[in-house]
């Protein structure tokens, strides 16, 4: 099995990048004073996810979180998974790149994670450090 980095390199040379139509807004309950963060999928990564047979299963990343620095990790040589839809790819990214206390462990009654169309993210960043997830159904997400 080739290394994940080699597969990504080969995919970049072959696949056209895909700008996702989604963003993921989240607030980390461990940092209540921090503004809402926005997860932006990488276009080359998204192209690889939609193509299939490049990225490893998400559970290999989750197990590798507990592997100490310098020790061999599982995900680079894991058998790649098949093609995902864009929505499945976003769910994969949430588990990979957002802390588990946001998407798995949080039990409060605030919405701390929302998948939104990119148009709902304000492009005016004048008050970026005051952004919070809108808890009501309104036009803008933050």
């Amino acid at each position: 099995m080739s290394h994940l980095w080699e597969r990504l390199l080969e995919a970049k040379s072959r696949l056209a990048p895909v700008q996702s139509k989604y963003r993921v807004l989240f607030e980390n309950p461990a940092e209540p004073d921090a503004p809402a963060a926005v997860l932006v999928p990488d276009p080359n990564w998204m192209a690889a996810a939609l193509e299939g047979n490049i990225l490893p299963p998400i559970d290999t990343y989750l197990r590798d979180r507990d592997v100490p620095d310098g020790q061999p990790k599982e995900h680079p040589y894991a058998e790649p998974i098949g093609a995902m839809t864009e929505e499945e790819a976003i769910e994969y990214l949430i588990q990979k790149d957002i802390p588990p206390q946001v998407w798995r462990d949080y039990q409060g009654n605030r919405s701390v994670l929302k998948i939104v169309p990119v148009e709902l993210i304000p492009s005016d960043r004048s008050f970026r450090n005051a952004w919070k997830i809108n808890q009501t159904e309104m036009e803008m997400a933050a």
Binding site: E10, A37, N44, D97
Partner: protein
């Protein structure tokens, strides 16, 4: 994918060990627009970008580094004529690195229109 297995590369005059080429290549890099609707222009081995706030971004790597002792190079510009001079590298794990863009004095945070990050080191 076919593999070329050689110890040295030469142009007929100068010779270099392939280890230098492999170790010296960036294992991940990204060129992004940190203003307006944040977007990644191009990249290698990056899964996503987290916009934490003004001038505060996290690069999430797809194929992890072997340890967190890798090198991070950053550059950026507010626009086509104004350079950002001060970067801080904060949280650093084998799969993510957080950077903050500040002014020359290291005080105020700035969103960066042209930001580049490259990561050098050993892959996991």
């Amino acid at each position: 994918m076919s593999t070329l297995s050689v110890s040295n590369i030469t142009d007929g005059t100068d010779t270099v060990e392939t280890g230098y080429v492999v170790n010296g290549s960036a294992k991940a890099w990204v060129n992004m627009n940190g203003t307006g609707t944040i977007a990644i222009r191009d990249s290698l081995n990056v899964a996503s970008l987290t916009d934490n706030g003004t001038g505060d971004y996290q690069i999430n790597i797809s194929s992890a580094m072997s340890s967190s002792n890798y090198y991070v190079g950053e550059s950026g510009a507010l626009n086509t004529t104004t350079e950002i001079r001060h970067y801080d590298t904060l949280t650093r794990t084998t799969t993510a690195v957080q950077i903050q863009c500040r002014d020359n004095n290291g005080n105020d945070f700035y969103d960066t229109a042209y930001a580049g990050v490259s990561i050098h080191g050993d892959l996991a």
